[in-house]
């Protein structure tokens, strides 16, 4: 691949990151959330209470990041951390009532953001987009080094 195409691709990914995150930040700000925190709330809403190591795995970020995010979400009252009975090293993280309500709001925002993001694209492109992006992601994934399609 020549540099022109390579740069177009890498630059497009970099800019999409910036803009999509900035747009998410703008939508989440009225809820008092910073981008990244919504993923934690949504994961808890989807899967239920879990320990931080599982959150780290599910969110695809490192444990220290989870420590800081959980601390802030706990301070704002959206999650609760309780010691795990079977493992005194671990903390069980779960949504509070406030957090559950907030997650429901985030879900709506999330749909609006996705629709806004793919506006103007043909439906079939939209349909295959998640798969394409997932392939790209696993191609450059240094944590789980390969395993493209989960078949």
């Amino acid at each position: 691949m020549d540099f022109e195409h390579a740069d177009a691709l890498n630059q497009a990914i970099r800019l999409l990151s910036l803009r999509h995150r900035a747009r998410a930040a703008a939508l989440l700000a009225p809820l008092g959330l910073h981008p990244g925190q919504e993923a934690l709330l949504l994961e808890l809403a989807r899967t239920g209470p879990m320990i931080q190591a599982q959150l780290s795995e599910a969110l695809g970020c490192e444990p220290p990041s989870v420590t800081l995010m959980t601390r802030k979400l706990e301070a704002s009252g959206h999650i609760r951390r309780t010691p795990a009975p079977s493992d005194r090293r671990a903390s069980i993280v779960e949504l509070t009532e406030s957090g559950t309500a907030l997650a429901a709001q985030v879900k709506q925002l999330w749909c609006a953001l996705a629709e806004e993001t793919v506006a103007g694209l043909p439906a079939e492109t939209v349909a295959e987009l998640p798969g394409i992006l997932t392939t790209l992601t696993s191609n450059v994934d240094t944590r789980r080094p390969r395993q493209t399609h989960g078949s």
Copy 2:
């Protein structure tokens, strides 16, 4: 769009950001660069000397970010900042010899990264990928609100 699809898309974009950036960081580290700095070098290599406001526009990030990045790249000797003769507010940023050589290395890495990123995708998907990503980006762009294809 229902939440399942919306979340799949938003999450895929978020994860691609994290992983692509992390992979870029791993490739750039041996050159002494942090991700984001390579874009500045490549822009200077492509367009030539320019002032920071133009860099901010070209890179799609805010002026304070440019201030910090230019300071660090200047400290490591890859760029040079000289006062603009016609405007005493502005600084002209240009590559040094070291920066020019580094940019050439970055170009090679950039091609390798792009090829790695799109591995396993059909050629026609790869061909339309930059356009799709650019559309997504301008759909959520809060700086230049719309104007998808530059026709």
